[in-house]
Symmetry: C2
Subunit: 410 residues, 2 copies
Amino acid sequence: MAVSRRTSRDIRSESRLDVLHVLLSQGETTRNEIARTTGLSPATVATVVGELLVEGIVVETKVTVGRIGRPTATLAMNPDRGRVVGIDVAETYVRAELFDTALTQIALVDVERDEHLLDPDSVVEAIGSALDRVLEQGGVDRRDVLGVGVSLPGLVQAPAGVSVLVPNWTWHTVELDRLRERVGLPLVIDNPLKVIATAELWLGRGRSHSSLVTVNLGTGVGAAIVLEGRILRGATNLAGEWGHSLLALDGRGCRCGRRGCVEAYVGAPGIRQTLREIAPDHPLLALDSQRDFIEAMAGAADGPEHDAAVDGTIARTAWYLGSALADLVAVVNPEVVTLTGWTAWALGDRLLPATREHLRDQAPGTAGADVELGVSTIGGSTVSTGIAVIALERFLADAGLLTSRTPIAL
Amino acid sequence: MAVSRRTSRDIRSESRLDVLHVLLSQGETTRNEIARTTGLSPATVATVVGELLVEGIVVETKVTVGRIGRPTATLAMNPDRGRVVGIDVAETYVRAELFDTALTQIALVDVERDEHLLDPDSVVEAIGSALDRVLEQGGVDRRDVLGVGVSLPGLVQAPAGVSVLVPNWTWHTVELDRLRERVGLPLVIDNPLKVIATAELWLGRGRSHSSLVTVNLGTGVGAAIVLEGRILRGATNLAGEWGHSLLALDGRGCRCGRRGCVEAYVGAPGIRQTLREIAPDHPLLALDSQRDFIEAMAGAADGPEHDAAVDGTIARTAWYLGSALADLVAVVNPEVVTLTGWTAWALGDRLLPATREHLRDQAPGTAGADVELGVSTIGGSTVSTGIAVIALERFLADAGLLTSRTPIAL
Ligand SMILES: [Zn+2]
Ligand SMILES: [Zn+2]
């Protein structure tokens, strides 16, 4: 018989993770407060806090002496333990954020990118120079950086011979080697969806539900599935690739090579394709950038003149999205689904009513009616924050404080 | 902030569950062996075993005194703690199995059912009389029965106002009340897929992998998703309803009311429909029972005469199945997928090679190539065993030994 899934080492690691979550989301707190919030015993909390104090991860900020009982120490993350950097590589920009170990932002750099320039050299160089500039802006010595996280769009596949499979990119192991060399610091990579979900978990959002799915709607489409406070990564970090599950057998071609994927219908190019099918000569089709197109769609829908082709496209997109979400709900049956990404922010309010209806009609039993569906209030910067959190998580794992099965280090 | 997901009570419960898994799968074992297998500390194992001894769940069967060191006690489940019954309600039969608390079978009763007779009265009565007969056959007093589990096809939805949504059945809360009254003993219900997965977990199969999906292919189609040794139930026990996720938008009508579900293509009636599309006058279409039809398909495929329509149907079914499995793999990214149910047993060997190829081609990255896909070696009786295990699990939960978020008690 194989080894059991959960060792006492894992349980200690989970206790530490719970304590760190509280410290990061509360700012300042006490041992009693941590015990109350986590459900851990006071003895366990005392042990864990002791370990984190020894490692310099946590500091006692003040001690209050009450009239009776023992003095109470206020605890916080130690901001000066080191620095972490989170880099969000999107189709159109690279954003680098520098944080202290309490996850307070120290510096931020945005580098615009030509979305058609996808060769490894220019991507690696954009990442490298964003890193250099954010460190310079923050006045930080590279020796103080505990880790750098890079969020790359597309599939980030584990294990051995980690590969990044970005549709239209032609990345191979050699590019990752080049990236590691250019960064020259402890490096983790992951994809934006898992990164957003990590940010929600660590920074306190989404902790009120035991199951939550974050759905990203942009050029690409995907889902991050959070179960019992942990991101479902799957055997090779590919869980959540709902964007490349089928909506229509033998349907529209998808940039992944498959036909009929969800992404080919509800990704920005898919929405453009729907408009093209309804009105082949529509003026919005002339817009070059995906994001400009989606924002112009939202503008047209809200504008004073009724545009039947735009309304029809939104109605069809809601049908596609509701049907595809019904599949996700059928398989995972989560409590909450939040939509994120710029398509969700631009068109979410227009899409939601009909999407909810289709979801309710098509999901099994009352699962579609029971699920809480809404647009996430999280902004774009969450990706750089989230990947910095993953870099911090990796550092803690390397220090032996977490049994990390999660972040992919290069 | 909400309460944390994992309390120390849950951790104690998981330790007990781990110990019980070892006891059930090993038969006889020792404290040291349990510690080695589970990864729990010897102190934790000693505590847990002590609690189980006090409750009479476990007994010491013999004590071996070595030349040095302390005497070693052999431990086993206490078969005489009570009796549990598992009842498998399928379209065509009802099977009741009686077990002792070490899960050794004491008696077995099979009752044939007319698959067209789906009214609540006849189903409740078939369950009730199967129960009566198995207790009689086993010479067991009803007062010694700790619990009865009933596996019902279709959706078994939680919580409050648990409902059973069987396609074509018209079950409501009132039928469940009637069922509870007829059984007159502590009762749990679940659907066959979750039951099969539970049996795999408790009885030692599937414990070598941290993520596993069991796919059922019969009249109905569904999946049970096992992650880190636990069945994914979802917010309302509906997780795994992959059979009613889309294969083809606006495709074939499904008995759930939706169009284009996976089940409408790879369920037995769906396979029949494919043959009808290829050869509308094929003689096998005259067979009335779904199961006879599938077995005749297997016979024709293996027969001496080449039947192009049957071969074509199998090829198309493999394409449908591979595509649908690619979706499941895209979302969950499991290590292992096993096919079960009578369609899998009859046609699995014929379907597998092409299904594997389609899965490999269509799943993201190398997830389709990495997943271990095969036909399960588990036979039909696993459903009655599995639901008996769930009844036992519920009894242990009621005794305060497990924090059971899982079985649905009526
Ligand atoms: Zn695709
Ligand atoms: Zn269906």
